[in-house]
């Protein structure tokens, strides 16, 4: 066993001194020769877990055992590939790749040889003296891989390494990596891949851990037993992708019906709102209503037809569900009667319907409106609500939630907001 993660909890301090739990009881083990996938939406704590494994942060409770030792600082033999390649722009390709070796204190001749070998392996020969700014995104990410591989790590950590690339480049890089891996050319014993792309996870991983939100936790573990190279159009592959889609959507709903109000969209004022706009909401309604879906669509299908990733589509779909314009379940999205009605209306009627739904189903919107109504001046500062929200969520999330409610509230004309004075008011709503 390469790595053993036991009962990891991680929480962050909030400004008011209380704790925010982002990882709750994570257990997983990585064996030699495995590619492990951590699949989940943004905010599910999977990147945080990766940083704990890399020794860049320390867990609040639990332990990470790597080759029999507890990880408390960046351990040797664990290398990371970053989302945006994270190259040093002032170093050439060769110097970037050498960085880790220099830190090991190797003699100059040896580190040059190893770096050139790694550069050749990853298909960058001829670019040794180029600076990162001269390279395309895909080439840069290759340098990122070479830099990680050259230190001959036991474990390679990958933090969404393909998500910043265009579709074709990402696919080439993935298959190149998989080819090298299955041919045994890579000097690594195990891989942990963080991703929010379901197909990517199924394409690359031997085991996939699906992460749930609030707090981040593992909701399921799925073994992928297809042989490499895997074909995306293979029916077994498609079934697996569909299965995981359903898993991720139904789990979100079934847990939400449970104990904590925050999970259920639109109940408490502490609901964490994603960054969505009224345009994206009505855009999805239109897309689902249009043929060939006619009001009911398969989420993976509509996602790919809109060229969106789940990370982009889920927040919109969930907000529609929160507003009762749609229902999301079993990997499907279905418009409600009101959702269909919304389509028929002209701009003013739409706004009125939207306002009514916003005030009825989104507690925060109703709360802001009530506070403004109650105050004689009909004004309230930003802090009035942000402080309140920070009891439920970290500061960044509170800010995002408040920004979203401002956008939606402005569209619905239920209140207005002055960004210079940071004041909510009922002026001219």
């Amino acid at each position: 066993m390469l790595l053993d993660i036991r009962e990891i909890h991680k929480s962050f301090h909030k400004p008011d001194g209380s704790e925010l739990l982002v990882l709750d009881g994570i257990n997983l083990a990585v064996n030699k020769g495995e590619i492990i996938g951590l699949l989940g939406r943004s905010g599910s704590g999977k990147s945080t877990l990766l940083r704990l494994i890399a020794g860049l942060a320390s867990p609040s409770a639990g332990s990470i055992i790597y080759l029999g030792n507890e990880v408390t600082a960046p351990p040797p033999g664990v290398a990371m590939v970053f989302q945006n390649s994270a190259l040093f722009p002032w170093l050439t390709v060769l110097e970037n790749v050498q960085l880790g070796l220099e830190a090991l204190g190797l003699p100059i001749n040896e580190l040059r040889q190893r770096a050139i070998k790694a550069i050749d392996l990853i298909g960058l020969d001829g670019f040794e003296s180029a600076y990162p700014r001269e390279l395309s995104g895909g080439m840069r990410q290759r340098v990122g891989f070479a830099r990680a591989l050259v230190v001959h790590p036991n474990i390679l950590l990958m933090d969404e390494p393909f998500s910043a690339l265009d579709v074709l480049t990402a696919e080439t890089l993935r298959t190149d990596f998989l080819d090298l891996w299955s041919e045994g050319q890579l000097p690594i014993k195990g891989v942990i891949l963080v991703t929010h792309n379901i197909e990517e996870a199924v394409l690359m991983c031997d085991r996939i851990f699906i992460f749930g939100n609030n707090p981040g936790r593992i909701i399921n573990e799925i073994k992928v037993e297809l042989t490499h190279p895997r074909a995306r159009l293979d029916p077994t592959f498609r079934d697996l992708v569909e299965h995981i889609y359903v898993e991720m959507t139904t789990r979100a709903v079934s847990t939400s019906a449970g104990k904590r109000t925050e999970y259920f969209p639109g109940t408490g004022i502490g609901t964490n709102l994603p960054s969505v706009t009224s345009n994206s909401l009505s855009g999805l309604i239109e897309a689902v209503a249009a043929p060939p879906y006619n009001g009911e669509a398969d989420l993976p299908v509509i996602a790919s037809s809109l060229r969106m990733e789940i990370d982009d589509l889920f927040p919109v779909a969930e907000t529609l569900q929160m507003l009762r314009f749609a229902e999301v379940a079993g990997g499907d999205i279905k418009l409600t009667t009101e959702g269909l009605q919304f389509l028929e209306f002209d701009t003013d009627q739409r706004k009125r319907l939207f306002a009514w739904h916003l005030l009825t189903y989104v507690a925060l919107a109703a709360h802001i409106r009530r506070v403004l109504d109650e105050r004689p001046t009909h004004r309230a500062p930003w802090n009035r609500f942000s402080d309140e929200l920070e009891d439920y969520m970290p500061q960044a999330a509170a800010e995002r939630t408040l920004r979203t409610i401002i956008t939606l509230g402005r569209y619905a004309e239920i209140f207005s907001y002055d960004d210079e004075k940071h004041i909510f008011s009922l002026d001219n709503p």
Binding site: T72, A86, R133
Partner: protein, 578 residues
Amino acid sequence: MMQRLSVSKWSRRFSALFWDGVAALLVLGLIVFLAQASSDFMQPLVESEHDVISLDPSALPEYALRTSLRMLLAMVLSLLFTFTYATWAAKSRRAEQILIPLLDILQSVPILGFISITVVFFLSFAPGKMLGAELASIFAIFTSQAWNMAFSFYQSLHTVPRELDEVSRSFRLSPWMRFWKLEVPFAMPALIWNMMMSMSGSWFFVVASEAISVGDTIVTLPGIGSYIALAIDQRDLGAVGWAIAVMLIVILIYDQLLFRPLVAWADRFRFEQEAGVPPPHSWVLTVLRRSQWVAFTTALFAKIWCWTYQRSQQPAWKAGFSWKKTEVNLKPWVDWLWYGMIAVVCVAISWKITFFVLQEVALAEVGTAVFLGFITMIRVFVLITVASVIWVPVGVWLGLRPGAARIAQPIAQFMAAFPANLLFPLAVYGIVTLQLDPDIWLSPLMILGTQWYILFNVIAGASTIPGELRDISANLGVRGWLWWRRIALPAVFPFYMTGVITASGGSWNASIVAEIVSWGNTTLQAHGLGAYITEATVAGDFHRVVLGIAVMSAFVVMINRLFWRPLYVLAERKFRLG
């Protein structure tokens, strides 16, 4: 839990004020200490060395060389200071609390005011010899260069991109390697820009610091500054002309041989990898890059540096996994000890300052100094307004025409670098001939050198107005006053603020030499705090010098905190494009 809750904005604001106060006390305390040490050593000396300066133009190249060497030495010192002081402040929480406000206050202290004190102090090390005076001059130049460089470096250290930080941690770079591979390169573009600004600003001080008279002590160092001081003394207009011409050439050479290559070279350190903007170019750098000899030398240096990395690194097999447990919780009693120490030091210093000043000066004179401060303040504000009314429209006009801006921008930067005090004699000559009122006509001298900061910042701002924005205003027929109000002024406002803050700070400093100016044995004097400080300096009265400096620093700090900074924040928030 309640205690943590109360650490909110109010206490943060209060604590900022508190640390500012501590820093101000420390700076003043240091000046008092220097002044007291100096007054013990005050003695008439080195009168004879005054004769060494020759007004023959053929001596000027040597003087220019000496002056620029002083400049270069001070720059090296400033860099050393930057790398140590700013790094210390960025890495240690306790040090940061005190070091950063200290920098802030030091930036606001009028350097010209305490040159006299430091001269005598350094002379006391090597009385009768030039070394002390050289040190004092270099120190004065250093004080005009170091603060903003250190600030810029400190800020860069705090904004190192998170991912690069994680890369260097996960590859376990030693602190030494991390410093040279990550932190210094990342800070380089901003640091070089600040070095250029520092250099621009310090020509003014190098000229002022070469010929100093404190009481009976007259110190002259061979250099352009002393040359011009002698020319003024002997009313030699021709010699003044020569000095100005040579200064122009020196600044030009510095620009071509030092800064252009540096800027072109530092381009690779820019973190944003945007395309489109043509990279800066320097013929000197191209020559250097093609030279075999230079290539050999740099390769040698690179080797040595690599070797230091290896030495600084713990070998992997020794390192283990938990080679460094981070201490998260500092013990509270250490904190209390630290704060207690600061409190004791502060009380002692304030007692000392009060005692030192009131020893010689009546309490009522503090009121006089404050009153004079107000006069100088009015001058600064009026001049800034006048300069703005002139240069903002000109700058916008130039900035919107790329061809014109390309020519005007370097000229404006060049004018900012030119030591305006070289031109003072000409002004005095004019005022005396035309018999004008010095209280009014000496004032423009204060802004002579600093107004250019307004101009070149506005040019820079206007040239960033996006083409689309101009197209849409043409399309909608927005012109005249509406165009200025809605497009031009908001777009250049943040840039204008940067320029105007620099100009204002510089003018306060310049008031010390501009409010009292002489030409041969004619001396013109305006009423103001600058003149007060200069008079006290000439009389060798350190008690009044300290009082003057304290009052001026207080004015500058207050104006910055209560007026410029809020405006700057507003500009950043409201008008920053993109």
